[in-house]
């Protein structure tokens, strides 16, 4: 029966829905309801179409769709697709289910999406663009830009279509596939991060005066142990700091500034 009903929204409609999300998603992001208003304005034209003969149902749908929402940009499209599929099949009676789908999926999808898209893939494209860019070469940036174009125009509409066609049955099969993909992706990402800590972080120790004896920390001590050990040390300390004082990049930036200035004053670290 679902096959019969699920023909109202064409690929073009779903592309529009997905692109509306790309276009408006976080404009009114706030600490209270995060992307709630964004979700509403994205799905509203679809709601108008679904409930054009039933004003009360339409207002009810507006109310349900304006509740708290926050999800990773790409995978959120699956939720949009499912949302439309459920309402198309069940109508106003499906609104409770829509609410449940949104609330239960936005967390896991954000977790997977942040790891896969915002972390692993962004870091791989970003690090290639940075290393080539530092040499004055545009190639890495062009490759990254191609990916930035691919996401809103191909990937997100495809994910939206996937959510719409598969509906609720997608949740079981997809989460299994995605978690495997995330695990493999994480291995790739973590390997690259290890490399980047060695290549992009620069820590140079200076010469200290121990009871009249000049002692160069960098050449006489650390280089003998392991190259780039200062970078590894900085990584370990920052990681520990984040666990200790909360995951706030702003705090960590100020801490790094203060510690660097202090160590510069005593000559322990040099440029």
């Amino acid at each position: 029966m679902s096959n019969e009903v699920s023909k109202k929204f064409s690929d073009k409609d779903l592309f529009k829905l997905s692109f509306r999300w790309t276009l408006f998603r976080s404009l009114v992001w706030n600490y209270e309801k995060m992307q709630a208003a964004g979700y509403l304005v994205v799905v509203a034209p679809t709601l108008d179409k679904l409930y054009k003969d039933d004003e009360n149902a339409r207002l009810h749908a507006y109310e349900v769709e304006s509740q708290f929402f926050n999800c990773e940009t790409n995978l959120a499209n699956i939720i949009f697709g499912m949302d439309v599929a459920v309402q198309e099949e069940l109508g106003e009676a499906g609104l409770d289910m829509v609410q449940a789908v949104k609330t239960s999926l936005m967390g896991p999808f954000s977790g997977i999406g942040d790891t896969l898209f915002s972390s692993v893939i962004a870091v791989i494209f970003g690090s290639i663009a940075v290393t080539t860019g530092l040499e004055g070469n545009y190639v890495g940036t062009i490759i990254w830009f191609a990916w930035l174009v691919f996401m809103p125009f191909v990937l997100r509409p495809w994910l939206c279509k996937l959510g719409y066609q598969q509906g609720l049955k997608l949740t079981t099969t997809l989460s299994d596939q995605l978690s495997k993909l995330t695990k493999a992706g994480s291995i790739l990402g973590i390997t690259v991060i290890g490399s980047m800590i060695a290549t992009m972080v620069k820590v140079n120790f200076g010469t200290i005066n121990l009871m009249g004896i000049e002692f160069n920390l960098q050449t006489q001590l650390l280089d003998a142990i392991m190259p780039k050990i200062g970078s590894a040390l900085a990584g370990v300390i920052c990681y520990w700091f984040l666990g200790k004082f909360g995951m706030k990049s702003g705090r960590l930036i100020f801490a790094v500034m203060v510690v660097s200035i202090l160590l510069s004053y005593f000559g322990i670290l040099v440029v």
């Binding site: 706030n30 109310e63 690259v192 290890g194 980047m196 706030k248 660097s260 510069s264």
Partner: protein, 257 residues
């Protein structure tokens, strides 16, 4: 700087965060922003290098779940505009102006997200009317929030002009400006460690070590390490797939998270 240059750079700064919050295509990218500023200032390659340097601090930083992070795109515009077109000045301009301004934008981002509560309440008040066009009018006001919070620091720095760097250089003692340069050399690690917090590091330390050693000892490039990482990832993925196949066969398709 000519007025036309200032206007172009300010326009870019005004759409920058709007792009981050929506399409995320051009100005939201620190390197592309650097290149644009470089074109405006007549030296695209300098812009590319400034953008890439600042992007290395931003790798791994993301607005995860609405956390605020420094706007290195804002810093890229200012640094390219104020470094006087010379690569030799880039490091000190980044240390003296770029880094402090980027740190300040964290607070501006928090401010923006607080201001947006106002628009949220207005949208909420309109929801019962079901009037989409009125809701959209209020919703689009969010553009001002993101536009003005990023335009302000750029406009101020550009109006003061390149003398800002010279003045700061003259006032600051050497150990302080050196301290900021040291900090900027360490900055990339912040993004990497935050990233590691979001990744399943537990049980995966070995890959971090492999990547580090390949680059620290053997000087392997990022692309080389990424390729090796991909090989390991594929190996583990196939292993996992085979395992689930076997357990699915033996347990009769019993799903186990």
């Amino acid at each position: 700087m000519t007025p036309v240059q200032i206007i172009l750079l300010c326009l870019w700064a005004a759409v920058l965060q709007v792009d981050v919050m929506t399409v995320a295509l051009l100005p939201s990218n620190t390197i592309i922003t650097g290149i644009f500023a470089g074109i405006v200032m007549g030296n695209p390659t300098l812009g590319l290098i400034v953008g890439a340097t600042l992007q290395s601090y931003a790798l791994g930083l993301n607005y995860f779940g609405g956390a605020s992070i420094p706007n290195y795109q804002v810093a890229a515009i200012i640094v390219v505009a104020l470094c006087g077109g010379s690569l030799d000045n880039v490091a000190s301009t980044i240390a003296l102006v770029g880094i402090p301004v980027a740190a300040l934008t964290v607070q501006l981002d928090v401010l923006g997200r607080i201001i947006n509560s106002y628009w949220q309440h207005k949208v909420d008040a309109l929801v019962p009317t079901g009037d989409l066009s009125r809701i959209m009018k209020v919703y689009l006001c969010g553009i001002f929030t993101w536009s003005l919070t990023r335009l302000a620091p750029v406009l101020i720095c550009l109006l003061i002009g390149p003398s800002l760097v010279d003045t700061l250089n003259a006032i600051m003692p050497v150990w302080l400006s050196n301290g900021l340069k040291i900090a900027s050399n360490i900055f990339p690690v912040i993004g990497f460690t935050i990233l590691l917090k979001y990744m399943p590091l537990k049980g995966n330390y070995q890959y971090l070590i492999i990547g580090f050693v390949l680059s620290a000892y053997f000087g392997a490039s990022t692309i080389a390490v990424a390729t090796i990482g991909l090989a390991i990832a594929l190996f583990v993925y196939n292993l996992e797939n085979n395992n689930t196949q076997i357990s699915a066969d033996s347990e009769g398709g019993n799903y186990d998270e």
